[in-house]
């Protein structure tokens, strides 16, 4: 197989890339940076940055990083039949516009989660950065909620690259039991359980799900009247 995707299961960007590759029907080998695979050390020699995901194209001896760049690379060079970039939308470049907006939101949500998970005496951001992040997260989530209140998918009737970037964020919020304030996002996430690519992606990142369950997910998710997150994960054979 000529394509390897190096991903970190805890990263929203990595999950977005996995989802996009599965959705586009691209053949690739998923390689988790959390595993002790023999290729891992060799990979870290050629990619010493702490930024993932990274797609290695062995045939063309090329290395591509960043989920939206990887999706575009796959579309242009590997799976041009994929509709992820060509979805019909209401105005030109809406798919790219929303993909970039979701990518920005993903970075903010990840940074806030990292801050929360790190020890209090090792903050990665200043208090001002955190407040700015919280403001930006809420403003972007409100925009996404509004967008989805009138559409099936982020940019209209067609599933697109923007949805690949939105899904891991919405799932992460659901695991933190934050979707109660966003009914359209809840309805949106429900649609993903019907998509094989989404369930395959979750299967690859399930260590993250275990961690969520340990930290805060299980008890919170099993409360409430709607189908619980953990039950769903079990039904999908992810947990």
């Amino acid at each position: 197989m000529s394509l390897d995707l190096w991903f970190h299961p805890l990263e929203i960007e990595s999950q977005a890339a996995l989802l996009a590759l599965f959705e586009s029907g691209t053949s690739f080998r998923p390689l988790s940076l959390e595993d002790d695979s023999p290729e891992r050390d060799a990979f870290l020699q050629i990619w010493p940055f702490s930024h993932y995901p990274v797609l290695v194209d062995h045939h063309w001896n090329d290395l591509i990083f960043g989920s939206s760049v990887i999706t575009e690379y796959v579309h242009v060079y590997q799976s041009p039949q994929s509709n992820l970039l060509l979805a019909q939308s209401e105005w030109a470049s809406a798919v790219w516009h929303w993909t970039r907006m979701m990518s920005g939101l993903g970075r903010v949500v990840s940074a806030l989660s990292r801050d929360e998970l790190k020890l209090k005496h090792q903050p990665t951001h200043t208090e001002q950065d955190q407040l700015r992040g919280l403001y930006l997260r809420d403003a972007l989530l409100e925009k996404l909620e509004q967008q989805l209140s009138e559409r099936n998918w982020v940019t209209g009737d067609d599933f697109s690259m923007a949805d690949c970037h939105a899904a891991p964020i919405v799932f992460s919020l659901e695991a933190q039991k934050m979707l109660g304030d966003f009914p359209s996002l809840q309805r949106y996430l429900d649609q993903f359980w019907e998509r094989k690519a989404f369930v395959r992606m979750l299967g690859l990142v399930n260590r993250r799900l275990f961690r969520y369950r340990q930290l805060r997910g299980a008890e919170a998710a099993e409360e409430g009247g709607r189908p619980a997150l953990i039950d769903r994960l079990r039904r999908a054979k992810v947990l």
Partner: protein
Amino acid sequence: MMKLWYLKEHDTSLAIRLLIYESELEVEERLLDPESALDQDAFRQITNLPNIPILQIPEAPGILHAVMDIAEYLSRQAPPERQMVPTDPEAGFQVRRWVYFTGTLLSPPISRARRGAEATSYATLTLALPRLEACLRDRDHVADDRFTFADCVLAVLLPVLSKLVEWRREYPTLAEYLERIRQRPAFQRL
């Protein structure tokens, strides 16, 4: 009429303005003074997002916040020979790829170094700069055989880096590249 809201001495604001001058587009420029309450109020009436620069456009979605969205929209307004983001899928991909590279691996460590000169910032830079040096040994511009938005983004960052650390001796191809860009009339307008 398109209207660009931007900050002075701000990397992405400079990159977008360089694109505008290179493309010879007519865009109203509105400098935002972060210290001015009047300016802050005027800005908040347009958007509740803190991103800058933004471009107001006369069609949906009305405002563009992401720098690559702004660059692509402006590029489409220019005649083909002056488009800074090519419409050809492969050439366009290369531009977006290098803009992402610069925006992710070069710009953040430079910003951090500006604020506190952390050792980790310089460590990242010493990993990123050799890749740009190698890329420019094979061609005159970063992403294509002609000047594109990828060059706009890189060209406005390198002078900032020069103020922080001496890098020119170690990366002579990159230094020559910057000198060539400095000669461009559009760059001199900034």
